[in-house]
């Protein structure tokens, strides 16, 4: 607890702490929708696909700032989403293969560009590596401010469009029927994922940002059958994971923020899997045992008459 207070006393750490908390909140909220739309791994693919976009943005401008990276990653993300859809629509490959192809080829391209940057004459490229693996403590004040503002606006957009997102997650056909611009809303949701991924990369890293989108949402699903509650819970789990991650990693040297945040989220996941009221492992086991017991009892009672009845 002591170093928790110490951390909060440092104004820079304060910012980082709240930035990660907000990041967890917003990605948890958005992740709920992509989980319900059965697109959990799309976030993972978009995170990897963002790399070439970020590299090109850096090569063109030579500046390391979230705003510029966002534009690059956003464009790469749109191309990647389009690619996934195009492959699944126009060939016999299924979604999983399309995701894998886009993920690995984009990332491969990103790595090629990264070597260009390393070999080239780009001044302060040394930070780019850190940026990709996630080190919240390395973020500077302006980054954190940008991150916080973006995260808050993500949450705001999700609140404003809650009704629409709910419907396109549950029944896109019906949504189209009542006149929603479904394709546009789907694109918007995808764009929100891209934005969440890009702001998260710096704190958590390319590989692990997917966890912030997936794990809190899955955990939240265990506690409720209502979408509103689920989104809120998912945001809460995400925020707590972000907070825990920053705190623990700041108190141990050499500990990166991303993995600790992910493990915190995984911890919430395990608790949910075990103790979720209806879907949890323990609850299910109990129900199953009860069914089996009552069933066996019933069978014993009726075994004889049943045989007579069936032997018609």
């Amino acid at each position: 607890m002591l170093n928790f207070m110490a951390m909060l006393a440092d104004p820079n750490m304060q910012w980082i702490f709240f930035g990660c908390l907000l990041l967890g909140l917003s990605s948890g909220v958005i992740g709920s929708f992509s989980y319900l739309r059965k697109q959990s791994l799309v976030g993972d693919t978009l995170a990897h696909a963002a790399l070439p976009g970020i590299c090109i943005a850096f090569m063109l401008t030579g500046v390391k700032s979230i705003g510029i990276f966002l534009i690059g990653a956003g464009i790469a993300g749109v191309i990647a989403t389009f690619g996934i859809g195009y492959i699944t629509r126009h060939s016999r490959l299924k979604q999983d293969a399309a995701l894998g192809i886009v993920l690995s080829v984009f990332f491969g391209l990103g790595i090629v560009l990264l070597t260009f940057i390393q070999h080239g004459d780009y001044g302060n490229q040394s930070g780019l590596d850190k940026f990709l693996f996630g080190q919240a403590a390395a973020m500077v004040g302006s980054d954190v401010v940008t991150m916080s503002v973006i995260c808050l606006s993500l949450v705001t957009i999700c609140t404003l469009f809650f009704k629409q997102f709910k419907l396109i997650s549950f029944d896109p056909g019906f949504a189209k029927g009542i006149g929603y611009p479904v394709a546009l809303l789907e694109q918007l949701l995808m764009l929100l994922i891209v934005v969440a991924v890009v702001v998260g990369i710096q704190a958590v890293g390319v590989v692990l940002i997917a966890a912030l989108l997936i794990t809190p949402a899955v955990s939240a699903r265990y506690w409720t059958n209502r979408l509103g509650v689920m989104v809120a819970l998912s945001g809460l789990f995400g925020a707590l994971s972000g907070a825990l991650g920053t705190w623990v990693s700041s108190s141990v040297t050499n500990l990166p923020t991303g993995p600790v945040t992910v493990l915190a989220a995984t911890l919430f996941f395990f608790v949910s899997v075990l103790f979720g009221p209806q879907r949890g492992l323990i609850a299910k086991r109990l129900v199953r045992l009860r069914v089996k017991k009552s069933f066996l009892l019933e069978k014993e009672l009726r075994a004889e008459p049943m045989k007579g009845e069936t032997a018609l």
């Binding site: 791994l41 080829v105 990264l114 050499n254 992910v262």
Partner: protein, 294 residues
């Protein structure tokens, strides 16, 4: 000489990944390949920490355990009612996170850094030689990959019909008494082996590329399973050569270029495959329409 070793290593990676990749793509488990390639990492680090050296066989074993463990966890959560892609996401990120934490806590002891794991160091394969009694036997990576390829070919060659039936129709496979779960985990074990032996050379994420992209390309080119495996390996090897050429020309990451080359070959197949290509299908439609009108 280094060119030769790099190309040989790359081709072996392509062969190992190409064969098992076919089954991943056909069973719609491409992203499980992605998951395994990430989640074997804690296994590798633990093997490092335990042995204090890059003892390849111990590493292989640890990776195998973690790879199979990953699929077991994913399967368990799926049966528990979580969507399959979400359970993949939860499991591999958690295991990868553990791996990264272990690396960052003990990195100094094990000379293992994240860059090597993510990008691989195929350019340096010929530096890490296997010596017996002072006589150099060639790069370690080549021996490791050769061994893996031998195991993969032997297992899939001998049990081809089981793998085929389990991929196509698991219900019938179970009904005629093939232990479907056993073959599932056997395949996952092979994927883990392919991953860990390719890991050092091409890195975690590019292993995914070699697992999925050539197999997907082959899937667009043929309607026979045996042929698909052959083509998958061939496309992988072609990507290796093209990629290496490009990387020398551009002075860029070798592994990155190899996957990009695989991507280019995929796009070509996607557009121009005689049977399933986009262009050829469009042309066929047009000639049909012309025939109908004329």
């Amino acid at each position: 000489m280094s060119d030769f070793w790099i190309l040989l290593t790359g081709s072996l990676v392509a062969a190992c990944c190409g064969i098992v990749g076919v089954f991943l793509v056909l069973r719609k488990m491409a992203m499980i390949g992605d998951a395994i390639s990430h989640s074997v990492m804690p296994g590798i680090v633990i093997a490092f920490l335990m042995s204090g050296s890059r003892d390849s066989l111990l590493m292989m074993f640890a990776a195998l355990v973690f790879g199979v463990f990953t699929t077991f966890l994913i399967g368990m959560f799926e049966r528990g009612g979580i969507q399959s892609d979400a359970s993949i996401g939860v499991v591999f990120t958690a295991l990868f996170a553990i791996g990264v934490i272990l690396v960052s806590l003990f990195a100094r002891q094990v000379h293992l850094d994240q860059d090597a794991i993510l990008y691989g160091e195929i350019a340096f394969v010929h530096w890490n030689l296997w010596e017996i009694g002072g006589v150099s036997m060639g790069p370690k990576a080549v021996w490791l990959l050769g061994f893996t390829l031998f195991v993969i070919v032997a297992v899939i060659g001998l049990l081809y019909k089981q793998f085929k039936l389990c991929s196509f129709d698991p219900a019938l496979a179970a009904a005629i008494g093939i232990p479907v779960a056993f073959f599932h985990y056997l395949l996952m074990g092979l994927v883990s082996m392919a991953t860990v032996s390719s890991f050092e050379s091409v890195g975690a994420i590019l292993v995914v590329g070699m697992l999925i992209v050539p197999a997907s390309t082959a899937y667009l080119l043929t309607d026979r399973l045996g042929m698909m495996i052959v083509l998958s390996v061939a496309v992988g090897i072609a990507s290796t050569f093209l990629g290496y050429g490009a990387s020398v020309w551009l002075d860029a990451s070798i592994a990155g270029c190899m996957v990009c080359a695989a991507g280019v070959l995929f796009i070509i197949a996607f557009l121009f495959s005689p049977k399933h290509g986009l262009v050829s299908r469009k042309l066929r439609q047009r000639s049909l329409a012309a025939a109908a009108n004329g």
